[in-house]
């Protein structure tokens, strides 16, 4: 059978065709919402109409089998309406209250994990990793799985001082919002790229390869029609490899992950913040990266114990001070923690007031 007639430049279907009738009716007219359970909330409209959202965990990578299953569940209890959250959870949209408990029962029976709403650990925003990316220095999905296995209770029931947003990026290109997350993992390299001088002249544009280097470590090598790297200037970011594949930077022996903390994107109370380096390096230890889980646990436990209600991780750290953060988490402070890149002088302590 011939393929149907293709069309171009049509854009996505209109969102209105995917909204449940109760949303179409009350669009822009919601009054308030209440969190009924860690995985259930109700939104109440000015008209008095209600919609219940039941949130379940997703590994983000979904097979068509699982997609069909959630489509069947939505068809049975939600008039066929569902959505995904910006953190890749699935939300079943219930318009008729009498379907709420049967839906929850079926989700429980089928092993779906409800939760993630309110001051908890929600799903981890992450990148493609070894599953499908050329520049991954670690596997994102594996790290997400082992971290969420550890923190599952903070998704399904336990409360924290505020929500904790985790992210994982499998290289410093950071396709996830790692640079502004409460706690995040970013995979890093530690060895300079190995240049294949045979391939560079054919595969790479020399000026853009040189321009890709943030530290100016790359210069032309006219004799070889290639480039050379000033070793003491290279910070192993890997941007040159993305522009010029024959500058191989992967090195399983020396690749691993760093942990950053204290970022946020919301403006509530304090402005959005960048995440800052808290653990410079942990070696890749698949399949379950126990050292990474342990370090993140130390940070989360210290936050849970020390933060005031409504404080995000970054706000808690700013209040207690970084010296106290390293003390209460027990994480070592090293040369790598002190910035020697672009904004170094903005980060030096220009005050004689600090804690012991």
């Amino acid at each position: 059978m011939a393929a149907p007639q293709r069309r171009t430049d049509i854009g996505p279907p209109h969102y209105k065709d995917f909204l449940p009738p109760v949303i179409q009716k009350n669009y822009g007219n919601w009054k308030y919402h209440e969190i009924l359970e860690p995985g259930v909330m109700v939104h109440v409209a000015n008209s008095g109409d209600k919609i219940w959202s039941v949130r379940v965990a997703s590994p983000r990578l979904l097979s068509t089998d699982t997609l069909r299953d959630i489509a069947d569940i939505a068809a049975k209890y939600c008039g066929g309406y569902l959505r995904f959250t910006t953190r890749n959870n699935i939300e079943f949209l219930v318009s008729d209250e009498k379907n709420l408990n049967p839906l929850k029962e079926e989700l429980k029976k089928k092993g779906y994990m409800m939760g993630g709403i309110g001051p908890r650990v929600s799903n981890i925003v992450h990148t493609q990793g070894w599953i499908h990316c050329h520049s991954a220095a670690s596997d994102a999905s594996g790290l997400v799985k082992v971290l969420m296995d550890e923190f599952a209770e903070y998704f399904t029931k336990k409360e924290l001082p505020n929500r904790v947003r985790l992210a994982v990026a499998c290289c410093t290109n950071m396709c996830g919002a790692v640079h502004c997350s409460d706690i995040a993992i970013v995979a890093v390299h530690r060895k300079i790229p190995q240049i294949d001088h045979e391939k560079v002249p054919n595969m790479c544009e020399i000026p853009s390869t040189i321009a890709a280097c943030p530290t100016g470590a790359i210069s032309p090598d006219p004799a070889k029609k290639s480039v050379k790297i000033k070793e003491d200037k290279c910070m192993y970011c890997g941007n040159c490899f993305t522009v010029c594949p024959p500058m191989e930077i992967h090195d399983p022996e020396y690749d691993g992950v760093a942990i950053v903390a204290g970022g946020k994107v919301g403006n509530l109370r304090t402005p959005p913040k960048f995440s800052k380096l808290v653990v410079p390096f942990i070696k890749n230890n698949p399949p379950r990266w126990p050292e990474v889980v342990d370090a993140v646990k130390k940070i989360l436990n210290a936050y849970e114990k020390g933060a005031m209600k409504h404080e995000r991780v970054g706000e808690w750290i700013e209040r207690i001070g970084w010296e106290k953060f390293f003390k209460v988490t027990g994480l070592p402070f090293t040369h790598q923690h002190i910035d020697d890149f672009l904004i170094a002088r903005e980060t030096f302590r220009t005050s004689a007031a600090f804690k012991w």
Binding site: G80, H132, G266, H310
Partner: protein, 398 residues
């Protein structure tokens, strides 16, 4: 279908309470050779602690330069079914709403023409169809587009715009995030499908300063809803929160960053003139506090991940823009920004990096926007700066 490959390391990731991506790959691998080789190659990555994917190669559908990301196994002899295994991005629905029928329709096409593996969603917000061979791309696109679905962005193009749930299901949204997203996606179809920019350009629209779509951290153009009027207070609802265990003084008044609130145990007061609209009090007492008056958006530009000059957050360019369909002001502003980028941007230079390189004055004058203190955290510290010839008037009193 033959048996699944042995994956002792990945099997460890089927243990534990969180839903397992390995289980998902295995489900697909039971009926699909591409998914089976993906599984086997991933096990090898876990064994050797490194990825085995190569990037590059121009691959896509006829007439488009974006929407398909070329991906090749670096071990094609061992894993022939993923020797070429490209990602296809499908433009998602604004607000990420779907129906069961739409999901099943996509599954039917994807089982026929691809690996059966997906992401809902990729980081930018596309539906990711995770891997198919080159020869499947055209029929796959015909199946989707004939049913009203189109590809998303990739490469040096406008990327698929995305937004928070907005007015569809949130009482805080000051703007119609879904409609803005749909409208700019339709307006700029050419810019989305045919890469013609120095580098990628991302739009993200959030209904309020809570910013559930993280627009301020990862969009070249961040559109964040805001309002200009006062916050209306329902004093009975304030009492309801107090009765239900909230310490109003501690949790609301003391956390206000501008100290514009007070509570005497009976009445909550807000000095609206000093409110910076951070959303803390509204988010914690959603039944009691409501923004009023004129609604619109703050337009910020420039956020991106660290390459090349370090991570940036978007900064304010237009403190307040009215947001009503057909969003002409936003679209005209966008075209002006792209024109500036086209004129001065270097290859692989994001718009924010360009503005930092050439200076805000250069950019603001080009797009015709007056300086405003809301654009900066603080004025400059150093006493050296540029003057233009026309600003130096002889014998003037200034």
């Amino acid at each position: 279908m033959s048996e699944l490959p042995k994956t002792p390391l990945l099997d460890e990731l089927e243990k534990g309470p969180w839903p397992s991506f390995v289980t998902e790959i295995k489900k697909a691998a039971k009926k699909n050779l591409m998914a089976k080789d993906e599984l086997a190659q991933l096990e090898k990555s876990y064994t050797d602690k490194r990825g085995y994917w190569k990037h590059g190669g121009i691959v896509g559908v006829r007439g488009y330069g974006a929407g398909v990301i070329g991906r090749y196994s670096s071990l094609p002899d061992q894993f022939p079914n993923v020797a070429n295994f490209h990602t296809v991005r499908i433009n998602s629905i604004a607000g990420f709403f779907y129906t069961s029928d739409a999901i099943k329709m996509m599954c039917d096409i994807w089982d026929k023409y691809g690996s059966g593996l997906t992401n809902f969603h990729g980081s930018t917000g596309d539906i990711i169809l995770l891997g198919t061979n080159t020869e499947n791309l055209e029929p796959l696109f015909a199946e989707f587009s004939s049913r009203g679905w189109d590809l998303g962005g990739s490469g040096s193009a406008m990327r698929t715009p995305s937004c928070c749930v907005g007015p569809a299901r949130c009482e805080w949204s000051n703007i119609d995030t879904l409609d803005i997203t749909y409208s700019i996606t339709q307006e700029f179809q050419d810019e989305l499908h045919r890469p013609a920019f120095p580098y990628k350009f991302k739009f993200k629209t959030a209904g309020c300063a809570v910013d559930c779509i993280a627009s301020i951290a990862r969009a070249d153009c961040s559109i964040i809803g805001t309002w200009k009027g006062n916050i209306a207070i329902d004093q009975d609802a304030v009492k309801w929160y107090e009765k239900n265990g909230m310490n109003i003084q501690e949790e609301i008044v003391n956390r206000c960053p501008t100290k514009c609130m007070s509570y005497d145990g009976k009445t909550l007061k807000i000095n609206d003139e000093d409110c910076s609209r951070c959303m803390h009090c509204i988010a914690k007492m959603t039944k009691a506090l409501k923004p009023t008056g004129e609604r619109g958006a703050t337009i910020l530009i420039g956020s991106k991940a660290p390459f090349v000059i370090g991570a940036t957050l978007s900064w304010v360019i237009i403190p307040f823009m009215k947001m009503e369909p057909p969003y002409t002001e936003l679209k005209e502003f966008t075209r002006k920004v792209w024109e500036y980028w086209d004129e001065y941007g270097k290859n692989r230079e994001r718009i924010g990096e360009l503005i930092i390189r050439r200076g805000m004055r250069d950019f603001l004058e080009y797009v015709g926007i007056q300086p405003d203190p809301r654009m900066v955290k603080e004025p400059r510290r150093d006493p050296f700066y540029f003057w233009k010839e026309e600003e130096l008037v002889p014998n003037s009193k200034l």
